[in-house]
C-alpha cells in the first residue's frame, strides 16, 4: 500500500459524494487487499478468509442437515429438501429434462455459494475483525471470485456441449444462419464478462452504498439500503445460477433438423 494509492482512492470517493469530505473516507478502503504470498504468487487473503467462512457455513448446514435423512423429513431436512427442490426446478427448467441431472450440483453450488457469500457479506459483522490491509466482506465483491465463477460457467457449457454432442456442438454457431458466426463467437466472450461484472458490480456497489451511508448517518438511514442490498444479493445469486443453467441448456439443446 503506497501513499499515492490512498490519495487516488480518496479522490475517487470524494468525486462520488457531493459533500466536503476529508480524508476519513479513505477508511472505506476500496480496492485494498490483504496480500498473501504463495511463492511469487499474490493472493487476496481477505477473500479467502471470508470464502472459508461461507464454505464452512454451507458445509456445516449440509452436514448437520443430512446426517439422518428420513422418509418423513424433520427439521433441517425439510429446509434442505426445499433448497434441493428449488435448485432442481431451476436447473430442469433451463437445461431440460435430459441433461439437468449432470449439472444440478454445479448450478446448485453456484447458487448456494453466491447466495451465502452475498448475504454473509451483508449480514455478518465483519468490521469486528480488523485486518492489517483491506477488509472482510462478501467474497463476491472481489473481481477474482466472480471472474473465477464466470470462467467456470464458460468451461462448463463448452464441456456440456462437446461431451453431449461432440463436434456437432459447433453447429450451434451457424444456427439459424452462418451469418451468426461472429456474433456467437463474441457471445462466448461477453457471457463470462457480463456474468462476472454483473455480480461483482452489484455486490460491490451494495457494500459501498451501505458503507458510505453508514459512515454519513450511522443510524436508521442505511437500513433501507441494507434491505435493498439483501434483495439484490438474493436476486444476483438467482440470476447467476439461472444464466449459468441457461448457457448450459443452450449448449446441450438439440435443434430440430
Amino acid at each position: 500500500m503506497s501513499p499515492p494509492r490512498r490519495l487516488s482512492d480518496t479522490a475517487y470517493l470524494s468525486q462520488m459524494l457531493p459533500l466536503p469530505l476529508a480524508l476519513p473516507l479513505a477508511e472505506l478502503e476500496v480496492g485494498q487487499h490483504l496480500y498473501w504470498h504463495l511463492g511469487n504468487l499474490k493472493i487476496h487473503g481477505q477473500v479467502f478468509l471470508s470464502s472459508w467462512v461461507v464454505i464452512g457455513a454451507l458445509l456445516a448446514l449440509v452436514f448437520v442437515g443430512t446426517r439422518k435423512l428420513e422418509r418423513d423429513p424433520r427439521g433441517l431436512q425439510n429446509f434442505l429438501e426445499f433448497l434441493w427442490d428449488y435448485i432442481r426446478d431451476l436447473a430442469r427448467e433451463q437445461i431440460g429434462e435430459k441433461a439437468y441431472r449432470d449439472w444440478l450440483p454445479f448450478i446448485g453450488t453456484l447458487f448456494l455459494f453466491i447466495f451465502v457469500s452475498n448475504w454473509g457479506g451483508a449480514l455478518l459483522p465483519w468490521k469486528l475483525i480488523s485486518l492489517p490491509h483491506g477488509e472482510l466482506g462478501a467474497p463476491t465483491a472481489d473481481i477474482n471470485t466472480t471472474v473465477a465463477l464466470a470462467l467456470l460457467v464458460s468451461l462448463a457449457y463448452f464441456y456440456a456441449g462437446l461431451s453431449r454432442k461432440g463436434f456437432r456442438y459447433f453447429e450451434y454457431y451457424v444456427e439459424p444462419t452462418p451469418i451468426m458466426v461472429p456474433f456467437k463467437i463474441v457471445e462466448d466472450f461477453t457471457k463470462p464478462l457480463s456474468l462476472s461484472f454483473r455480480l461483482f458490480g452489484n455486490i460491490l456497489a451494495d457494500e459501498l452504498v451501505v458503507a458510505v451511508l453508514a459512515f454519513l448517518v450511522p443510524l436508521v438511514v442505511p437500513l433501507p439500503a441494507m434491505l435493498l442490498g439483501l434483495f439484490t444479493s438474493a436476486i444476483q445469486a438467482l440470476i447467476f445460477a439461472t444464466l449459468a443453467a441457461y448457457y448450459i441448456g443452450e449448449a446441450v439443446h438439440e435443434s430440430h433438423h
Binding site: 500500500m1 503506497s2 446448485g108 453456484l110 473465477a148 460491490l204
Partner: protein, 153 residues
C-alpha cells in the same frame, strides 16, 4: 485515479486480478464435489425415493379402492338376490300357511257339518221312533178305551 484501471499496474485496486482467481475456481470446484457428495446426491436420493414411494402407494391404493368397489358391488348384488329370495320365501310361506288355514277351516267345517247331519239324522230317527211308539200307545189306549166302553157294563 486511473491507475487501478490498468490491471497489475500497481498493487491493489478494484480490478486486481491475480492468483486468487484460479485458486478460487479450484475452491469452488472442490465445493461442488463436496456438496454433491454431502448434499445433492443424498437429498436427491431421499426425495426421489419418497416420490417413488408415493407413486407406488398411490397406485396400490387405487388398485385396492377398485377392488373394494368391485367387492362392494358384488356384495350389493348378493344382498339384493338374498333379499329377493327371502321375499319369495316369505310369500310362499304365507301362501302355504294360508292354504293350511283354509284347509283346516274347511276340514273343521266339513266335520262339523257331518256331525250335525248325523245328530239330526239320529234325532229324526228317534223322533220317528218316538212318534211310532206314541202312535202305538195311542192306538192301544184307544183300543183300551173302546174296549172299556164297550165292555159289558
Amino acid at each position: 485515479m486511473t491507475s487501478w484501471l490498468l490491471l497489475g499496474a500497481t498493487e491493489g485496486g478494484l480490478f486486481d486480478l491475480d492468483a486468487t482467481l484460479p485458486l478460487m475456481a479450484v475452491q469452488v470446484v472442490l465445493l461442488t464435489l463436496i456438496l454433491n457428495a454431502l448434499f445433492f446426491r443424498p437429498v436427491g436420493r431421499t426425495v426421489e425415493e419418497r416420490e417413488g414411494y408415493i407413486t407406488t402407494s398411490r397406485a396400490d391404493a387405487k388398485q385396492k379402492l377398485a377392488q373394494v368397489l368391485r367387492l362392494q358391488a358384488d356384495l350389493k348384488e348378493q344382498l339384493k338376490d338374498a333379499r329377493k329370495a327371502a321375499q319369495a320365501l316369505i310369500v310362499e310361506a304365507e301362501q302355504e300357511s294360508d292354504q293350511l288355514y283354509r284347509d283346516a277351516i274347511a276340514e273343521a267345517t266339513a266335520s262339523a257339518n257331518a256331525a250335525r247331519e248325523a245328530s239330526r239324522r239320529e234325532l229324526d230317527s228317534q223322533r220317528d221312533g218316538a212318534l211310532g211308539q206314541i202312535q202305538a200307545d195311542a192306538t192301544k189306549l184307544g183300543d183300551l178305551i173302546v174296549d172299556r166302553l164297550l165292555a159289558p157294563q
